[in-house]
């Protein structure tokens, strides 16, 4: 059995109301929805009681019709006010008085029927089948079937947008990581199973922990590529929570995944070696737990003349490769990340760990920059070969007059 709700100018309210009663809901047009009410009898009783329950829940003026097929219910709801129950087998009699305009026929057919004097469902139903088929074609036959309340079409239910979110209220506040991981493992299993059902993966995980002191602890893990491995997610969340533990015991856990299309890769014998993204993400999280998050990544040079200026970007294997060919061997430089404060006396240089007489030198080269800001810099630099065998770059800060060893050539 099918119920149809029709309310002019009610917006999305009929749809929301229908979804409270059934999962199989078809929004037929802007004011009308059809829902499958099979099985509701166990909850509400007869079809009359179901119709009244729907009307009560709606709370606004609505036409409700119940019939054995969706189209009969649709036309009855649009044609009669209030609640209409169409007895099975007598749909044609019930719909007989409705005007033909409810069938929304094509303009040409409407004109033809008007010329014949056909104005109601009853008139169209009374026409001979073969004659209608011969004169109005397939569309005419379809309209005649609708007019007599016969339809065999299936409902086209609207699918609610999928939500990949799980919440669990805990029986007692959890203040240790291990029992929390047990809960998260279960939630992740459910979320990943739902993602798998729809052939999707997750690009971001959002964890919201409701704390005992009414606060919230929210964490978000953005993944470099879409993934769907509950085991990897659990380990990532564990490492993240170890680094950023909540401030109070947890009473409720909400886990959500942002869906994305899964990664599609074409493997081949001649494709260069690359780390697997899932494994790499886990490894990077483990290394970050050891060395700190800001101490790893891909270096990126900054567009400045300031020597050694760079920033760290997150490392990923999916980034586009700029395509660079290796050139001839160049002299590498090893940086003293904190330049060594040095003393230069005549041709003798001394600094912690470095001490020697200047054997040969090249320079000076004066550079400066950022003079328009508070962090202005200026320096004169030399390349020096010391008697200890080292080849160093030293500079004198033009602002302070102090000498430093920046690093060594190696």
């Amino acid at each position: 059995m099918f119920a149809c709700m029709h309310a002019s100018g009610a917006g999305a309210r009929p749809l929301a109301c229908a979804q409270d009663f059934s999962l199989q809901v078809e929004p037929t047009d802007a004011d009308t929805v059809i829902l499958d009410i099979d099985g509701l009898g166990n909850l509400f009783g007869t079809v009359h009681e179901i119709a009244h329950a729907i009307a009560r829940r709606a709370g606004f003026p609505v036409n409700i019709a119940i019939a054995s097929n969706p189209d009969a219910a649709f036309h009855a709801a649009r044609g009669f006010t209030g609640i209409s129950i169409l007895p099975q087998g007598d749909e044609a009699k019930f719909l007989a008085s409705l005007p033909l305009t409810l069938l929304s026929p094509a303009e040409e057919i409407e004109e033809t029927l008007a010329r014949w004097g056909i104005r109601t469902f009853r008139d169209l139903d009374a026409l001979p089948d073969l004659g209608v088929a011969a004169r109005l074609g397939e569309e005419g036959v379809r309209l005649q079937k609708l007019a007599c309340g016969e339809s065999s079409r299936r409902l086209r239910p609207v699918e609610a947008p999928p939500r990949f979110e799980e919440t669990m209220e805990l029986e007692y506040p959890v203040d240790l990581l291990e029992p929390l991981m047990f809960v998260l493992g279960r939630l992740l299993g459910d979320v990943c199973a739902r993602l798998e059902e729809r052939a999707l993966a997750a690009i971001e995980l959002r964890l919201c922990l409701q704390l005992e002191n009414a606060g919230e602890h929210a964490r978000a893990i953005r993944l470099p590529v879409p993934m769907r491995s509950a085991r990897v997610f659990l380990k990532l969340l564990e490492l993240d929570l170890e680094k950023h533990p909540p401030a109070a015991p947890i009473v409720r856990v909400t886990l959500a995944a942002e869906p994305a299309k899964p990664r599609v890769t074409q493997n081949g014998l001649f494709i260069p070696l690359a780390p697997e993204p899932e494994k790499l993400e886990l490894t990077l999280a483990r290394i970050a737990a050891v060395v700190g998050e800001g101490n790893m990544g891909s270096p990126e040079l900054l567009d400045t003349h300031l020597p050694g200026a760079f920033r760290m970007r997150s490392f990923g294997t999916s980034r586009q490769w700029a395509g660079k060919s290796a050139g001839p061997a160049t002299l590498a430089f090893r940086v003293f990340r904190q330049p060594l404060a040095a003393k230069v006396q005549g041709s003798f240089v001394s600094a912690p760990g470095v001490r020697g007489k200047i054997v040969r030198q090249a320079g000076p080269w004066r550079t400066s920059g950022d003079w328009w800001t508070l962090s202005a810099w200026a320096r004169d630099e030399w390349d020096v070969e010391l008697s200890d065998g080292g080849l160093y770059r030293i500079y004198c800060d033009a602002n302070t007059g102090r000498w430093f060893i920046e690093g060594s050539y190696d």
Binding site: L273, E276, V291, A329
Partner: protein
């Protein structure tokens, strides 16, 4: 006769295939040594300014040019991205891990990277770690790294002052500086042009020494033999402060 054939087949089946070599792109080095072996540990050791880092950067530049990913575990925090980019390394294919002088963290990070797999070259830079500190790394740790890299296409390179991996390394190269080329006459404006290094194979004990030259990066344009300032005047001015 049949027994001899069977024995030959048996020997050939059980013989370990030669490890695939990873070239450095330096003609003098590759012609003599062929490169460094994959699936094993390579020690590159020598004092400061002996060409260890130049050799490492050349190896990484070749690896990234082949579209492989590289990782450098920098225990000394001495890695210079500008120098790496000048050597031709595609920085977006390089994972740089800074352990801030902590050799233990460097070992752990290297182990995790090798377990994850997928890198063409993993380098552990202990070049500025004091030998007495570096020697505290137990042999068991090196064995663990050797086991992790074995039978993988990854090459593990350790840069250090003295050989540390010892028995666990398949190849040990000792680097030394042989010549510095300066342009210009002493006493007037000069320019560091290039440094010639020598890499001598210490393990396996088959005498071989490769000589290679590393040129100073002069592509930034502001360094030239004609220094913009009078050297004597600037030096005197600095010394007078």
């Amino acid at each position: 006769m049949a027994a001899a054939i069977l024995q030959t087949i048996h020997l050939k089946l059980h013989a370990r295939p030669d490890a695939e070599l990873m070239p450095s792109g330096i003609p003098g080095f590759d012609a003599v040594l062929g490169g460094i072996p994959r699936g094993s540990v390579t020690d590159i050791f020598g004092p400061a300014s002996s060409g260890r880092t130049s050799l490492l950067l050349a190896l990484m530049a070749q690896a990234t040019a082949r579209e492989e990913f590289c990782a450098v575990v920098d225990a000394s925090d001495a890695f210079d991205p500008t120098s790496a980019a000048a050597a031709g390394i595609a920085l977006e294919r390089l994972l740089w891990i800074r352990t801030g002088g902590n050799a233990e963290h460097a070992l752990k990070a290297t182990d995790l990277l090798l377990q994850a797999g997928g890198f063409g070259l993993v380098a552990m830079d202990l070049g500025d770690i004091a030998p007495e500190t570096a020697r505290r790394i137990s042999l068991a740790s090196w064995y663990r790294l050797r086991r992790a890299v074995e039978n993988t296409p990854t090459a593990l390179v350790v840069v250090e002052r003295t050989p540390l991996a010892r028995a666990c390394a398949t190849l040990a190269l000792e680097c030394a500086r042989s010549r510095i080329q300066w342009s210009g006459a002493p006493g007037c404006s000069q320019l560091l042009r290039s440094v010639t290094f020598a890499a001598e194979r210490r393990k396996p004990m088959r005498p071989a020494s490769a000589v290679f030259e590393a040129q100073e990066r002069l592509d930034n344009g502001w360094r030239s033999e004609q220094a913009p300032l009078s050297r004597e005047r600037v030096m005197t001015a600095h010394l007078q402060r």
